[in-house]
């Protein structure tokens, strides 16, 4: 689908909807944006909900034909398909040229724009329902505040080339091998989009970034899965996408307290750092780094705490309690209470309306990324910038689970926090992190070990069950295993459990979960209350095939039987009688 209008040099970037440059396809993400624009125009023609401006940010899309010409004219496939490192590939791309076709349009674009820009991939395969490529390719923000047009222009085109190059980075190539597809068939369109946000000193960022899912794979008790789920963060959405600490809640019940054990637990598990576009001095010129123009700051370094008035409570350490809003004493805790409980911003109302119209229009559950800015003193109207719309694949197969009792010997584990839907009878390999040697300081090594095991399964075209501790796919190695999707791509069943020494929310990284959903991975979360704990003794009795200090692969005589009821998020994994030793 190609929507939008051809880029015109004088006004192209500030067109209503989006404009495009070149020929070819817009890719999944840009198509989602076009759909979003049409939905918003249809349902909210005034561009406003409850006093909040709602729109898609100004956007220009470089269609996939631009990528084709760029690759062909610069003979880039040779190095792209070689074993060269990611940096070598990125540098080759940055040294290549767009030629006479597109340089002028891009120069005109940057001449007329002085806001920070996000350069995002929109590949033909990315974000489609059947081919999960979400989060594989890089996004790069550029500050776009250099003094002269040439410097702004160079930063922009280097960012575009970097995003192009990311198609051929190691993890992407590995993934294409995994799914048995020819990487040369992939085409990359690129979205050049204004960053929704405002300037705060030398930083530019959205006040709130968010990811909405209208179907919750991990609903709390008494909250139904289709009540949805939202993750909010202060600053750029990179915090959420990377799986770092953010605030999660159900849009249908915004006032429901989050399941923290105690105040300390809450203080430890709320957002403390945020990402912003750095408008100040760039210390490291590095066109092959995603974070070249970004700053990672602490919320405790914000001088004017009143900035946090819509999103924080203050910890009163004398009484060990939280007081909504910014106080003159105590540490800020980003629980978004003023917005979600006192509705100082109509965000949740907007979210619920947006979810409803998007579900109706797409006839499916949806995932939405957005950013909220407060506006300037001159124009204080808050703005909800719609960044992405993606349908979620929910299986409709109805699964009935057997009655389970704690004493059931044939059950390997059961859980009431399970993602996925369906039955599997073909898994007879288990890869697990050895509980006796597990320590959070070695999670990077564990991730590397698992990647090695996964590579063997990939080569043999076999699926397996993966068991580990803490969050899968986290960017924080102290909270879980910091794997990327290709490192576990052949896992059919993933089990996320905790040791008594750990306390971590279960995984919510948006792209990580989109990949799991699209691959129909069964994802079991196991904690004491909701699950029959894993039968570790039984697992350890199975035949060892391969092991490292931290990870072990065991082989079963017979395959496991897995049943997952997606409607109720319940699931069970049954041992097979023949597996008894």
């Amino acid at each position: 689908m190609k929507s939008g209008q051809k880029f015109e040099r004088e006004t192209g970037f500030f067109h209503d909807g989006f404009t495009y440059i070149g020929t070819g396809l817009p890719g999944g993400k840009a198509s989602g944006l076009a759909l979003s624009h049409n939905i918003l125009k249809k349902h909210f023609p005034e561009g406003d909900i409850e006093g909040m401006q709602v729109n898609i940010p100004h956007t220009t899309v470089l269609l996939s034909g631009v990528f084709d010409t760029f690759m062909k004219e610069n003979n880039l496939y040779k190095i792209s398909l070689s074993d060269a490192s990611d940096d070598e590939i990125a540098i080759s791309f940055i040294n290549a040229s767009f030629g006479g076709l597109y340089s002028g349009d891009l120069f005109y674009l940057i001449e007329n724009v002085d806001k920070p820009l996000a350069v995002r991939s929109s590949s033909i395969c990315e974000d489609s329902l059947n081919e999960p490529f979400a989060g594989f390719y890089e996004t790069k923000m550029v500050a776009n505040n250099q003094l002269n047009s040439a410097d702004k222009y160079n930063a922009l085109i280097n960012a575009i080339k970097y995003v192009y190059a990311s198609l051929f980075f190691q993890q992407s190539k590995k993934y294409f091998r995994t799914i048995n597809r020819d990487i040369c068939q992939e085409k990359m369109a690129v979205i050049i989009q204004e960053v929704v946000g405002d300037r705060y000193g030398e930083n530019f960022f959205p006040y709130i970034s968010g990811v909405l899912k209208s179907y919750n794979f991990y609903p709390s008790e008494q909250i139904e899965p289709d009540a949805g789920f939202a993750a909010l963060a202060f600053g750029l959405g990179k915090t959420i996408v990377d799986g770092s600490t953010c605030w999660s809640y159900c849009p249908r019940y915004p006032r429901t307290p989050q399941p923290f054990n105690n105040m300390k637990d809450m203080l430890n598990n709320t957002q403390k750092e945020y990402w912003a576009v750095n408008l100040g001095k760039i210390n490291n010129y590095n066109p092959v780094a995603e974070t070249e123009y970004l700053a990672h700051n602490s919320i405790f370094d914000i001088r004017d705490r009143s900035l946090l008035k819509h999103i924080c409570s203050t910890y009163d350490h004398i009484n060990d309690r939280l007081i909504m809003g910014v106080q003159n004493y105590g540490a800020p805790v980003l629980d978004f209470a003023p917005t979600l409980r006192a509705e100082t911003l109509p965000l949740n109302t907007v979210i619920n309306q947006i979810i409803k119209v998007c579900e109706d229009e797409t006839n499916s559950k949806v995932e939405i990324e957005f950013a909220v800015s407060l506006g300037t003193t001159k124009d204080p109207q808050p703005r909800f910038g719609f960044l992405q719309l993606r349908p979620i694949n929910i299986s409709n197969e109805i699964i009935d689970l057997p009655e389970i009792t704690d004493s059931s010997d044939e059950v390997l584990l059961s859980s009431k926090k399970v993602m996925g839907n369906g039955i599997s009878n073909d898994i007879c390999d288990i890869v697990y992190i050895r509980p006796e040697n597990f320590n959070t300081q070695y999670t990077n090594q564990i991730a590397a070990d698992i990647a090695e095991f996964n590579a063997i399964f990939t080569a043999n075209k076999r699926k397996y069950m993966l068991i580990g501790f803490g969050r899968w796919g986290t960017s924080d190695p102290w909270c879980g295993i910091p794997v990327q999707w290709p490192q576990i791509s052949n896992a059919k069943i993933i089990v996320e459990t905790v040791l008594p020494s750990m306390r971590a929310d279960f995984s919510q990284g948006a792209h990580f979960f989109h990949n799991m959903t699209a691959h129909n991975v069964f994802y079991f979360s196991v904690d004491k209350e909701d699950a029959k704990n894993l039968d570790w003794n039984w697992i350890q009795q199975q035949k060892t095939i391969n092991e490292t200090k931290f990870v072990k692969h065991v082989k079963l005589k017979q395959s496991l039987k897995v049943l997952v009821d997606g409607r109720h998020s319940n699931g069970v994994i049954m041992k097979n009688e023949d597996n008894k030793q």
Partner: protein
């Protein structure tokens, strides 16, 4: 070439017409219809066979009110000083129309490089600089390659200049090879510039470039890159003509389905001549050199020499032609111009259409003076920006004042030079 044709007279006639429209006073006319300075000199060279030969050289500096002079050096056996004078004047208009801070000049040597060894050519280059080193340089007059001169010639000249002055002046001359002070994108600049203006003109004419066809005269640097970009934008090139060094005549290569630039380049010699036999094998009709102008297409791009569209052949232009983009300098005679005007064919005048080369030369000089070199994308992005801006400035004036495009371009250029001359107190 028609021997009675005098390029300088043509350039003066064009200027006089604009001077009337601008109501210029006598002093202004006198200043601009003749060059400010002329250098005529001899270059004695010891030939490889031990004999000595004396070559005649020129440098004509037409006007430097806006900035240092800028213009190429031509090596041609039929070179005349009047041609060089005309070209120097057109350079003044060309730098002015794209609004770069340079004046206009041109130089030449009467010689045929095809009959000279590399050493002999080097001696001519060094001799040219020995005669002129006080009158050229980064702050006075910056030469560049032109007909039958190239980056190697420029490097010899630069080396001689730096040897004489004892300093390094990479901005003294442009068109140098990349890595030796040359700019990325210079090779493509003129041809791409032609198509940037064609693209903008077609937009204004409400024509979709994908639905257009074109015929090109010449298969040198300008044409090759113009065809390439035009094809990339979706246009279909039907015909190209080229000079055949062996036969000492030109041929046109026509293909109804559209010519393939890469295919033709693979059978082209280093003089830009296409192999006729191989072209026939590839399905091209090989026609006489003048047939390019008769092709039924939307766009004609004369990108070879001056004086190519004349009263004698202007009526052979197909009624389908809507646009002529003058990639060469002075390809249309005033008589032919009148006919084109009457027929309502839209003209992108030479000194606007082919100004991509000098614009990129200016970029090269800027980079050399900074000793900091830009990426190819930066060069091409700025080139596109400059050319597009210049085109629209001319087109807007033409629309507003109901002027012929050539007259509008002249009026902008002459006006800029006059203003600079007045500001300096010259007139």
């Amino acid at each position: 070439m028609d021997k009675s044709f005098n390029a300088f007279k043509m350039a003066q006639d064009q200027f006089d017409a604009v001077a009337d429209k601008l109501n210029l006073n006598e002093a202004s006319r006198e200043l601009l219809r003749t060059p400010m300075r002329e250098y005529h000199f001899t270059i004695p060279v010891k030939m490889d066979d031990g004999t000595s030969k004396v070559f005649r050289g020129f440098r004509i500096q037409h006007n430097d009110a806006i900035g240092p002079c800028k213009g190429g050096i031509r090596f041609h056996p039929q070179e005349t000083v009047d041609t060089v004078r005309a070209l120097s004047m057109w350079m003044t208009w060309k730098t002015a129309v794209v609004d770069i801070p340079l004046g206009g000049s041109k130089g030449g040597v009467i010689c045929d490089p095809h009959n000279l060894s590399a050493r002999e050519q080097e001696q001519i280059c060094r001799g040219w600089i020995r005669q002129l080193h006080r009158n050229v340089g980064p702050l006075r007059d910056i030469p560049a390659p032109d007909v039958m001169t190239n980056g190697q010639h420029m490097l010899w000249m630069l080396d001689e200049y730096e040897t004489i002055t004892g300093e390094k002046y990479p901005g003294m001359i442009t068109g140098k090879p990349v890595g030796m002070g040359g700019s990325l994108g210079r090779t493509e600049a003129t041809g791409y510039g032609v198509i940037f203006t064609v693209r903008e003109a077609l937009k204004e004419m409400n024509l979709t470039i994908e639905n257009t066809t074109a015929s090109f005269q010449g298969f040198g640097n300008v044409s090759q890159y113009a065809i390439k970009l035009y094809d990339q934008l979706g246009g279909k090139s039907l015909c190209v003509s080229c000079w055949d060094q062996q036969d000492q005549t030109s041929y046109s290569f026509h293909k109804k389905a559209g010519i393939d630039i890469d295919e033709l380049l693979s059978i082209t010699d280093h003089f830009g001549g296409i192999d006729k036999a191989k072209a026939k094998e590839l399905g091209y009709d090989v026609l006489t050199g003048d047939k390019w102008i008769e092709v039924e297409c939307d766009i004609l791009v004369p990108a070879a020499l001056e004086n190519q569209i004349t009263a004698a052949n202007v009526n052979k232009i197909s009624s389908k032609v809507k646009l002529i983009a003058e990639g060469a300098n002075g390809p249309t005679t005033p008589e032919a111009d009148e006919v084109l005007k009457e027929r309502g064919i839209f003209i992108i005048p030479d000194f606007l259409c082919n100004a991509g080369g000098v614009t990129c030369s200016y970029f090269e000089q800027v980079q050399c003076n900074m000793n900091y070199f830009w990426s190819k994308d930066e060069v091409l992005g700025k080139l596109d920006y400059k050319m597009t801006t210049a085109y629209h400035k001319v087109s807007k004036l033409a629309r507003e004042k109901r002027l012929y495009m050539r007259d509008a371009a002249y009026m902008i250029s002459v006006d800029r030079v006059i203003r600079a001359s007045v500001a300096r107190g010259w007139i």
